[in-house]
Amino acid sequence: MMAWLFKMAWRDSRRNLGRLFLFIAAVVMGIAALVAVTAFRDNLSRDIDTQAMELTGADLVLDGNSPPGKGTNALMDTLGEERSFERSFASMIYFVKDGGSRLVQVRALQGNYPYYGAIETTPAKAAKEFRDSSRSALVDQTLMLQYGAQVGDSIKVGALNFLIRGALHKVPGQTGISSTVAPVVYIPLQFLEETGLTKIGSRIKYRYYIKFANPSQVAAVVKRLEKDLDKYGLDAETVASRKEDTGRSFRDVNRFMSLSGFVALLLGCIGVGSAVHVYIREKLESIATLRCMGLKARQAFWIFMIQIGVIGLTGAILGCLLGTGLQYLLPYVLKDLLPVEMNMRLSWPAIGQGLALGLLVSILFSLPSLLMVRHVSPLNAMRISFEPAQRRRDPLLWLVYLLILLFILGFTALQIGGWQEAGIFTGSIVVAFLLLYGLSRLLTWLLRRLLPERTGYLWRQGFANLYRPQNQTMVLMVSVGLSAAFIGLLFFVQQVLIKRVTIAGGPDQPNTVLFDIQTEQRDAVAALTRKYKLPVLSQVPVITVRIDEINGVRASNLAKADSVAVEKHTRLKAAPGAPKQEGGGRRGGFQEPPGRAFNGELRVTFQRKLTSAEKVLRGVWRGDADDGRIRVSLEENYARRIHVDVGDSIVFNVQGVMIGTVVGSIREVNWARMQTNFRVVFPTGVLEEAPQFHVLMTRVPDSKVSAAFQADVVRTFPNVSVIDLKLVLRVLDELLGKIGFVIRFMAGFSMVTGWIVLVSAVLVSHAQRNREQMLLTTLGASRRQLLVITAVEYFFLGMVATGAGMMLAVTGAWGLSRYVFQAGFEPSPLAISGFFMVISAIVMLTGILSGGRTWKRK
């Protein structure tokens, strides 16, 4: 019997193949998006795994911000079989031949680092040779190109000249983009002191690279040394932790892409559900006839189940093929962001998942309609309108609805990694579905009762099509409404994300930053700036502190607890690359590894008045500590991140001196403003004597003045660094453009899927209207009249469904922006009205065009 069922399924579907493939076009797109994303993720994760040792270059990397003391040196002597030592800091270098100067990351190295992978240079031997006794350096190749420098030329680092021994191509663990923002220059460590750049106040990072004879011991060693590392202020990085960190930084991009892929698939599900619903309704008469001839209910069910299964599988295969092609595009777009070299391969797990999901969603979302087949009475063959197929209260139907809900919940949880978020997402979809369903019911009810008798015939007929028997109002309302909602939602979220990674620029914004200015140099640097007729837009002190205690609890304990909590919370945040602000302020609190908020360094300032970018949200700002109480102000996201509010007490460790403070106010900070912003601001009268450096911001009119000013600064104050923000902004712009492209690409994919669903829903529903139109033609209706009737029906339906969809989209985007991406959401009325008009028009045009045969008939 099974063979015959397959034969019947084939016979029944072969005349509808075109239409059935339209049904699955949406599934193809959804699966393609998912396969591409999953395959990319698999490949990236595999490449991170295989290249992790080359990312760290050693079995263990320890880094800290204090010069090694006796204790540190003694500790180092006990570790591993081979060690390298590096001191790195930002500094200006001067190209002697060209006369240009540029901020770079100077790395003074001693030892045979890297032990895994290589520092790649031209000539290749330069990577080893620069460490010999001569004063030689390796300079980033792009920088050399930019300044026309060649191997054999000289650069000046601080007070010393170095011979360029080689052009630097690749440093372990560095991405393309980071070398553009902060190009690396290697010099031998032995000459660092002579450069004069190691004065107190210079922000130097001390790094120890250790190679173990038996790398498997590393984890145990790190565990054993935990207390010592804490004591000497050292952070440990192992191959395993680097692997984890690298994976984590890409998890967010992956999550957004996975979510887009999943939305595309969900749209496909809506497409399948609504299309199969209409398809089955058109088959009721045939099923009834077969039932008259003795076909059993379950046989009828299987004839259609086989069709849907085969079509679903075909869609899944096509989706996998398309997705596999697409996966090769993603690394191309993201290559500058990737820390590892991507070797794209076919991902069989991604393909397997795509195939299974395609088949599963096709069947699952068809089941509510397929189950209806079991209840088709043979009587329908004789009196189709008298006793339509009844759904009755089929317990299986409720089971299917439950399975659909569980599927959405489970798969969402898998994609975005949390049950709570998945629950909210699934609940929102159910609410949206119910709202649209209720709206379609209300609409038909209102039209039936309120449509005035005096309305012209064409309009009356058009509106009446929405509530007459066999109408498709509910199916179209739900599918068009949900598609519009998803399309709108993705568009709005994309806008929020792109806005979030865009830096505000403008004619009054500073474009040059001078930092590492020592207190005694402060006035002289300002005078030099003014000498070039440049404005001193701001000049603020920066003090490095650490949190010691919050409300009596040690920061190290809070950090440990936080590592666990952050794992649960770092989900679904925006794409990486949110601009890092000078002055130590990072946007929000979720951009750093777990625990770092508590035990990492903080750069703070002190001021009497708040700046124009700051607004007090809670508490009161007081700019002095005259009454003996030190009231600090915290940025709102940071305060939330470390779980403190107004009135809480914090003890800061200001380079060895403990200072007890109280949180006096919580501020909102406009991070998009190009100025020094801080997470924590002290009042005046507390930190004036603490070791500090100063940051000066100015605006330079053109590159000529910029070059002259920078050269003068480097000559006069070798320790002061200059950041040309224009250059940084341009690099960031390129980077953000690429991230934006990926976001748009994935969102666009889902939007196209939504459009296919929309078109197919309208197309299949029109089959219901064809017969009536022919009848009206026979009765003498002109083509123009038929056109008006159709246009009224579909435009009205499209308008109401799109309107509802847009409302859902705006609500959803607001919720996602506020609670997930933690960003402001200001919907653009232009975008909303644009979507509304375009989607309504698409529904109407598709409705009209789908009756092509009727319009051509003369």
Partner: protein, 236 residues
């Protein structure tokens, strides 16, 4: 005590007993909280090989009666015995099996599967029974109704008369004991209708099938051996 689905007659009675027997059949539809009695106390039987016409004005309950006789619908009260089997209480799937074994249908609007060719439409009842040689027999039947050369055509490519001829071939394909025809010529012009009628009676005679026709057409009714007249849900 006779259970549903069991043979109602003894083996000796089976050959001589009526092929269709209705006892005190009533049918009530419930719609919008109101009851509508469509059939009232219907009692009749049809002998093997007989030809019967059920006539009556629109709304007299003819089609409902046909549905109940053929096991498409259930009576609200009373019993139906088809080919010696009591239909009362049979499940829908059991009645489907029964229809496949003993019953053939001809519909007013032909009811051919639009996605199946003429040949495949005729083959379906035989395939449902796993009958061997379905294709050969279907071709023979199409030959008989003069459509052998249109065997691979889809219904949409056939005229109304041709579709009804395919429908005739399908109805006889399983050699049913009982053939129900619901207004078989109602959708056809007079000339085509007459040709279909002639074909129906000829095939029926050859196969020795019992024929029950629901019709408005007195001329068609007059060609049957017995006429049951319905009015207001009752037999007159």
């Amino acid at each position: 005590m006779i259970s549903p689905g069991m043979s109602y007659y003894t083996p000796e009675q089976q050959n001589t007993a009526a092929i269709l027997e209705l006892r005190q059949v009533n049918k009530i539809y419930k719609s919008a909280g109101r009851e509508l009695q469509v059939l009232k106390d219907i009692d009749f039987s049809v002998s093997r090989g007989d030809t019967v016409a059920i006539t009556g004005p629109s709304g007299s309950g003819k089609t409902t009666l046909l549905g109940i006789c053929a096991g498409l619908d259930r009576a609200s009260a009373g019993s139906v015995i088809l080919n010696g089997i009591l239909l009362d209480g049979l499940s829908e799937d059991e009645r489907a099996r029964l229809r496949n074994d003993y019953v053939g249908f001809i519909f007013q609007n032909f009811q051919l599967m639009p996605t199946l060719t003429a040949l495949e439409n005729v083959m379906v009842p035989m395939e449902l029974r796993h009958r061997k040689g379905a294709r050969t027999r279907a071709l023979e039947l199409l030959e008989k109704v003069g459509l052998a050369e249109r065997a691979d055509h889809y219904p949409v490519q056939l005229s109304g008369g041709e579709q009804q001829r395919v429908s005739l071939a399908r109805a006889f394909s399983n050699q049913p004991a009982l053939l129900f025809a619901d207004e078989p010529t109602g959708n056809l012009d007079e000339e085509t209708g007459e040709r279909i009628e002639a074909m129906l009676f000829e095939l029926n005679r050859e196969a020795g099938t019992t024929l029950v026709i629901v019709t408005h057409d007195p001329e068609l009714a007059s060609k049957t051996s017995r006429v049951i007249r319905m009015k207001g849900g009752r037999i007159q």
